[in-house]
């Protein structure tokens, strides 16, 4: 017997067919990051468009949030099972994200022959193994440096920026003495989120003193180098070289005060140079390595990317990561963020036409020792909150450097027990 489809079924099928696009993309992936929030040019939208043009079977949804919100979003999204596929990451988050099981190990992906990059070309710190596995790859990299307002340095009677602690102390005090409202150096030790002042300024000074706060994966904050570095900033504070109000000064305010020409020196990521030169082009500005106390070491930082362990499109996610790390694309990313590439094979392309500040960062990266301890630190974010509180207390004169170091160690150990 011949059977016909009912008319209503035919109509419904036709409607559905016309509503569907001609060809559905094989995969849609989401990229959660803060990078686009720090780029007003729309570079990352263009990057995604270019990727989609090359890979018509994959669409990428760019999810942009401010840096301070991304960590929280990754954790809550993961908890309710709606996490993004590709994640913008910050090295200090690594251990706590591993504890929650957010990240996909990348070793099998990195071992593939058809990758657009060689793993050996990637900046080392982010790909170092934790629990025997690699969890993230570097999109870009930058050292922590000291930004210098040469106008103020010259007004204070010096020809060149400080290279060691003694010179820093002398110049910072001389700049602060120039007039009311001008300070030598800012210390952003506010409790306000992300409350990360110590890792912005204290750790770079500690590393240039040859110190560390970790012993492998165990906190080791209470040591002689830490105490010596704390005493140094306490001395600077007592000499009036530090901007008043360290306990309410955020990293953002510290940067703004430097850009406005009210601080002689700013210790922060090298990537801030573009904001400084862009917003105050009249400033006689340069950047130098953080003044040393015997060791040429710098805190290395960068923007990292990883894949969510819960992603349903891991292959497509890796295709996108692979694209971002290819030398050509990675060079574009590095130039757009005025940083160095995560794939060092792109270094020559970035160096071409790079400005003086970027060349100086490259020299620091190639000549000095990189240090990154926070990625192995348990409870890293909580730990720098504790550091902030104890450093505030130190600068108020409520405790000695040795007491502050011991207090951080005790509280940190209590956190992770």
């Amino acid at each position: 017997m011949k059977r016909h489809l009912p008319k209503w079924a035919l109509a419904a099928a036709t409607s559905v067919a016309t509503l569907l696009p001609a060809s559905l993309p094989a995969a849609e992936i989401e990229w959660l990051q803060w990078f686009a929030a720090e780029d007003p040019t729309g570079f990352y939208d263009q990057l995604v468009e270019d990727f989609e043009a090359q890979h018509p079977d994959i669409t990428v949804k760019l999810v942009t949030q401010p840096f301070g919100k991304v960590r929280e979003s990754i954790v809550t999204d993961n908890a309710i099972g709606v996490g993004s596929d590709v994640l913008g990451l910050n090295m200090p988050w690594t251990t706590e994200f591993l504890d929650i099981g957010i990240l996909e190990p990348l070793d099998d992906y990195l071992a593939r022959d058809d990758n657009s990059f060689a793993t050996s070309d990637l900046v080392e710190a982010p790909i170092g193994k934790i629990d025997g596995k690699t969890w993230m790859v570097p999109l870009n990299a930058f050292p922590f440096v000291m930004h210098v307002n040469m106008d103020l340095v010259k007004r204070a009677g010096f020809d060149a920026p400080p290279t060691n602690w003694e010179e820093l102390s002398e110049q910072a005090a001389a700049i602060a003495a120039l007039e009311d409202g001008i300070s030598g150096l800012g210390l952003p030790f506010s409790s306000q989120p992300p409350s990360n002042g110590p890792i912005l300024t204290f750790l770079p000074l500690l590393y240039s003193n040859g110190g560390r706060i970790m012993d492998g994966t165990t906190p080791n904050f209470d040591n002689a180098k830490v105490v010596e570095t704390m005493e140094f900033i306490k001395t600077l504070n007592e000499a009036g070289a530090i901007a008043p109000g360290a306990a309410s000064r955020t990293g953002g305010v510290d940067l703004e005060e430097f850009i406005a020409g009210r601080t002689g020196f700013l210790i922060s990521p090298g990537v801030h140079s573009s904001a400084i030169t862009g917003r105050n082009p009249d400033m006689d500005y340069t950047l130098v390595r953080v003044p040393t106390n015997g060791t040429n070491a710098y805190r290395v930082h960068g923007w990292e990317i990883g894949i969510s362990a819960d992603s349903r499109n891991k292959e497509a996610a890796w295709t996108f990561v692979n694209y971002l790390l290819s030398p050509e694309v990675n060079a574009r990313v590095a130039k757009a963020s005025n940083a160095l590439p995560g794939n060092l094979a792109a270094l020559d392309a970035v160096r071409e036409g790079a400005d003086d500040t970027l060349i100086k960062q490259m020299d620091i990266l190639s000549g000095d020792t990189p240090v990154e301890e926070m990625r192995q630190s348990p409870k890293a974010v909580a730990s720098w909150s504790l550091m902030t509180e104890e450093l505030q207390s130190l600068l108020r004169g409520d405790q000695t450097a040795a007491e502050a170091a011991a207090a951080v160690q005790a509280r940190w150990m209590d956190q992770i027990k």
Partner: protein, 295 residues
């Protein structure tokens, strides 16, 4: 149509109208509420895929933690201080803008004085941070008046931070009291003031013996409402001081956030959240009773 069906339709119709509201309430209120209470009874929720049921252990831990009691004390200081500030400034300004002046001037002042209520917490926090900065306007004026010899770190000094926060909170919250009190003032019969005038009562006598008694239910109601809101206030504190310096301005709501998103101790955070819920619920019952008495 059968009789039972007709009966069901007749008695069920009102519930059908209630259904959308109940579904929304259920989804937006009951489920999160249930989850928070549930989280507080487990160990390492979210961090652990299979958390362990620990009963009331989290409550015992929290109640034994000096940090919780310190945050609780700060919450009381902040809440009571804010509500008192809101009431004094709000009532004072309501009396002023209720004065018999040119209508245009009255409208202008009323509109201007409501402005702090319109700003978001982010805007309020940023503006006050600039004002209270060691190089900010307030230090400049105090220095110019010769009241200070060196700039004060209003938000970074543990002795000043809570007072500064109370100042900001008062500025932000007085308009609600002002508007409520102003509308209450319109309802006081003019005859009472006329009678008081005939008796020779001055401004303060009229305020104490006519205005306040007439507006007592309004004052009590808005004060309770303000108490409930301020008790659980989070953004203004977090964005202005982050609970610091040290933990000088840490309140229960910022402690909850810190435990959850700084320390990743979600079960402990849920426990503190439940304690806030219980106290807020007690205030709410008081408020509802007061409202019921007024009706």
């Amino acid at each position: 149509m059968t009789r039972p069906f007709r009966l069901l339709t007749a008695s069920g119709t009102p519930y059908l109208f209630l259904l959308p509201g109940l579904v929304i309430l259920g989804a937006l209120l009951s489920v999160p509420l249930y989850k928070v209470v549930e989280y507080s009874l487990y160990d390492n929720v979210i961090v652990e895929r299979n958390p362990t049921f620990v009963g009331l252990d989290n409550y015992r831990n929290i109640l034994g933690d000096p940090g919780y009691w310190s945050a609780g004390f700060n919450t009381i200081v902040f809440t009571v201080g804010s509500v008192v500030g809101h009431m004094i400034v709000g009532i004072g300004l309501a009396l002023l803008v209720n004065a018999d002046i040119h209508p245009r001037a009255r409208t202008f002042f009323r509109s201007m004085l409501v402005l702090p209520w319109i700003f978001t917490a982010v805007v309020v926090a940023l503006n006050w941070q600039l004002l209270l900065n060691p190089f900010g306007l307030i230090n400049y004026i105090l220095d110019w008046l010769g009241l200070i010899s060196e700039p004060l770190d209003w938000l970074g000094n543990p002795d000043l931070a809570m007072w500064s926060l109370l100042l900001i909170s008062t500025w932000r919250g007085y308009p609600f009291i002002m508007v409520s009190f102003l509308s209450g003032l319109q309802t006081v019969p003019r005859e009472l003031y006329e009678a008081a005038d005939i008796d020779g009562a001055g401004f303060w006598h009229k305020f104490w013996h006519v205005t306040l008694p007439q507006l007592k239910p309004v004052i009590f109601g808005v004060a309770l409402l303000d108490l409930i809101w301020t008790f659980q206030l989070f953004p203004l504190v977090w964005l202005t001081t982050g609970g610091g310096p040290g933990r000088a301005t840490e309140v229960l709501s910022t402690l909850t956030f810190r435990l959850a998103f700084v320390d990743f101790e979600f079960a402990q955070a849920a426990t503190v959240a439940v304690s806030i819920l219980i106290i807020s619920a007690a205030f709410t019952v008081l408020y509802l009773r007061n409202e019921a008495r007024r009706l």
